[in-house]
């Protein structure tokens, strides 16, 4: 009846079967209401987080005069900062820059709020800061006043690492350097980065990354076994390990496209809404790419694992939930102790390494930026600095950013392969009623 049909070679045969099952799985998922519920809930959750972000970006941050130089203590109309700059007495109303020759017009007090920008300029190893408003480099001050921290560089801030706390710093300032940072600019930048890291790590990689496979992959094989429809597929000349793999490929096709779209939308929204000198925050794309890579690989491992749990027991979800709880514990651990060795026994620990390494590449100034915010001109933490400190982690492998990404990708692929081998071995040993 079918003479002349092309006999497939081994590879083309596998390819055709993979495509057939993958396509079938994709269409089957698309026809299920539960799929859409899961995907829409994911979008809604990310949407709520994004609204918090938009709110944070559009709020007014109170500009705090951290060093008090906008006040006019002697009531002569000249702010203290301006008087200090010209060397007049801030307590004497008869001594002010107006009596100088040529006479100086009084500044608006707002000039002396947030006058130090919010950046730490790196001068040399361990030395940062620049006297942006010139109140350290005043002529009347002596050389020893200008170099109070005694490191040989006038008007800088010295960061001394703490011996008992690697990564922590003691800040030694020469005084009047970066002492009144721009609170609003700092807060916007820090909150923006915190949000990108928080939604990227906790939202996309963890929440979406674990719940989408939990609801969509756990039943990939098991549901077909329970309903009896697996008989159709297994009556064909195809090994069960192949069926297992190709079902997952169909799931990946849907989950990966979903993640890509979700992350692209988030990247576009935050790229335009975030604080930026230009039109769009191009630097952030590096972080989002790392989030994408971490999420795609996490979904890959979780999908394979949950499908295996489904084959193992018909209530595979019951086995998957304690694992999800374990992963939650692990992601919280990555925030505080990214180098804890227990993280090697998780999936999320490796995915977080990728995001952290990507962020370290894209925003290499962040550790300094956090230290500056926590110091806050000597007056305690600026708004946003503590949040950023929480969500920022230095990749825990100690390999450098690129090395961390390569090793983590390899480990996650290995985990997937191990789950596949285990899952297909279990599936092969199952009798199907």
């Amino acid at each position: 009846m079918s003479q002349g049909r092309e006999v497939p070679s081994l590879w083309s045969g596998m390819d055709r079967k993979a495509l057939a099952i993958g396509e079938f799985t994709l269409r089957q998922q698309r026809k299920r209401l539960s799929t859409w519920v899961v995907l829409i809930v994911g979008v809604a959750a990310m949407g709520v987080l994004t609204m918090f972000y938009i709110d944070a970006m559009t709020r007014d941050y109170e500009a705090i005069d951290n060093d008090g130089d906008s006040y006019d203590w002697d009531g002569d109309g000249y702010p203290n900062g301006q008087e200090s700059l010209y060397g007049t007495d801030i307590f004497d109303s008869n001594s002010h820059p107006g009596i100088l020759d040529p006479s100086v017009v009084p500044d608006d007090p707002s000039v002396w709020i947030n006058e130090d920008d919010f950046d730490w300029d790196v001068l040399a190893t361990g030395s940062v800061g620049k006297d942006d408003n010139g109140d350290c480099e005043v002529e009347s001050r002596t050389a020893s006043q200008k170099d109070a921290n005694n490191n040989g560089i006038p008007c800088d801030i010295q960061l001394v690492s703490e011996r008992w706390n690697p990564g922590g710093f003691v800040v030694r300032s020469d005084g009047n350097v970066d002492e009144d940072p721009d609170d609003e600019a700092y807060a916007l930048e820090a909150i923006h980065r915190s949000f990108v890291l928080a939604i990227g790590k906790l939202g996309v990689v963890f929440l979406v990354g674990i719940f989408v496979p939990l609801f969509m992959a756990t039943g990939l094989i098991r549901n077909e076994m329970t309903s009896g429809t697996m008989h159709f597929m297994l009556a064909k000349p195809i090994a069960r390990g192949e069926v297992f793999l190709y079902r997952l490929l169909g799931f990946y096709a849907m989950a990966w496209v979903y993640l890509t779209v979700l992350i692209a939308v988030l990247a576009i929204i935050t790229g335009f809404a975030g604080p930026s000198e230009g039109f769009f925050r191009l630097d952030d794309l590096g972080v989002w790419m790392a989030v994408w890579l971490g999420a795609v690989l996490a979904v890959m491992v979780y999908g394979m694992l949950f499908c295996t749990l489904g084959v193992m027991w018909k209530h595979g979800m019951v086995l998957a939930l304690p694992f999800a709880a374990w992963e939650l514990g692990m992601i919280l651990t990555t925030l505080g102790a990214p180098d804890a060795s227990i993280l090697r026994f998780s999936v999320i620990g490796w995915a977080m390494n990728i995001v952290d390494a990507g962020a370290a590449l894209a925003w290499s100034d962040t550790p300094l930026f956090i230290q500056m915010g926590l110091w806050g001109g000597g007056n305690g933490p600026l708004e946003g600095s503590e949040a950023l400190n929480l969500f920022w982690s230095t990749p825990g492998l100690g390999l450098g950013a690129l090395g961390t990404i390569i090793v983590s990708v390899f480990v996650l692929v290995f985990q997937t392969a191990a789950c596949w081998l285990l899952g297909s071995a279990l599936f092969k040993s199952k009798e199907i009623e």
Binding site: M1, S2, R5, E6, V7, P8, S9, L10, S12, G13, M14, R16, K17, L19, A20, I21, E23, F24, R27, Q28, K31, S227, G228, T229, H231, F232, M233, L234, A235, K236, P237, I238, A239, R240, G241, E242, A425, L426, K428, S429, K430, E431, I432, E433
Partner: protein, 329 residues
């Protein structure tokens, strides 16, 4: 359960040259038990060519036998061979097999054409080839005009025919149909029976199971009878029928004068016993059921009896099987 890692991946592209003396299907002392329940016990059976009916009550082990053959179950004892290969370890022989499972659940969201062509692609066909073959087999089972309708909207008979089409798409040498007629309307029954007979004429090996003797009779003469997991009869249906006729049968007659009727009937050579459960009821034991049943109306009319019911309470498969299995009704 220890995973079996030795299962092979792909179908052999060229079917392994099967020696002519290797049967298509071979069960050699096969048993399958679940704890203390024996679904199938010690079955030895070899089949090649022709249409074979597998007859048995629900739970007789018909589906278990098929699942063993399709590598869904692993035998507890004995060996199963499909084209000379172990189906539990190797999916390659399925390239030459079409299987129609008993399960009613199908992928309702697919159209018949999608269903058949999707599974055809698992035989290694390209999308185009699969579609072409699917159209061919759907036409063969008489569904070409509804090929693009969703299976979910099909009647039971149409669903069964779709399943049969999906099993025929690779032009198999062996076709296994598990209760293909169950729940079908008369028209679908006739179509399916014709399809099965047609496949037999094409020289395929066909295994078809049923729990209704009458159905199998209309399809084939070669039958295998299973009862409580054991093989109780095997061979030509006519030969088995003749043996079945020797079974003591009971005929129940309800009439006004049961004792008078009994007196007249006792003289008939086919009758060897009578009993009276109550005043108006008569039970007759016979070894020649067919003969007596044909003559009863004449005997009743000739002797002027008034009778309201004649039936045969144990003319069903169960009592026949009980007889075959245990030698007594």
């Amino acid at each position: 359960m220890i995973p079996d890692m030795t299962q092979q991946g792909q179908a052999a592209p060229e079917p392994a040259a099967t020696a002519p003396n290797v049967p298509v299907v071979l069960f050699n002392g096969v048993s399958k038990s679940y704890g203390r329940i024996h679904a199938v016990s010690d079955i030895t059976l070899g089949l090649s060519g022709g249409v074979t009916g597998i007859l048995g009550m629900n739970g007789a082990g018909k589906s278990t036998l098929f699942k063993l053959l399709m590598g869904k179950l692993r035998p507890s004892a004995g060996e199963v061979k499909l084209f000379g290969m172990n189906p539990w370890k190797n999916p390659a022989p399925y390239a030459k097999v079409g299987f129609v499972p008993e399960h009613e659940k199908m992928h309702d969201w697919m159209t018949a054409l999608e269903f058949v062509s999707t599974f055809a692609r698992l035989h290694g066909m390209t999308r185009k080839e699969a579609e072409k073959e699917a159209i061919r087999v759907l036409d063969f089972v008489g569904l070409s005009d509804v090929a693009n309708k969703e299976i979910g909207r099909f009647s039971k008979g149409m669903r069964q025919r779709t399943k049969i089409a999906h099993a025929l798409v690779n032009d198999p040498e062996l076709i296994i149909l598990d209760e293909p007629l169950q729940g079908c309307d008369p028209l679908a029954r006739t179509t399916i029976m014709n399809v099965i007979r047609e496949l037999g004429k094409l020289g395929r090996t066909v295994l078809v199971s049923s729990h209704i003797l009458n159905e199998i009779e209309r399809i084939t003469e070669q039958i295998v009878i299973l009862h409580q997991g054991k093989l109780v009869a095997l061979g030509n249906l006519h030969a088995i029928r003749e043996r079945l006729d020797q079974i003591p049968h009971t005929i129940r007659i309800v009439g006004e004068d049961a004792r008078g009727l009994a007196r007249d009937l006792l003289n008939h050579p086919a009758v060897f016993g009578v009993s009276f459960p109550n005043e108006k009821e008569l039970l007759i034991q016979t070894y020649h059921f067919g003969k007596l049943h044909a003559e009863l109306p004449r005997l009743i009319v000739e002797n002027n009896h008034r009778v309201s019911i004649i039936d045969n309470p144990d003319d069903d498969l169960e009592s026949l099987l009980n007889y075959l299995a245990g030698g007594g009704a």
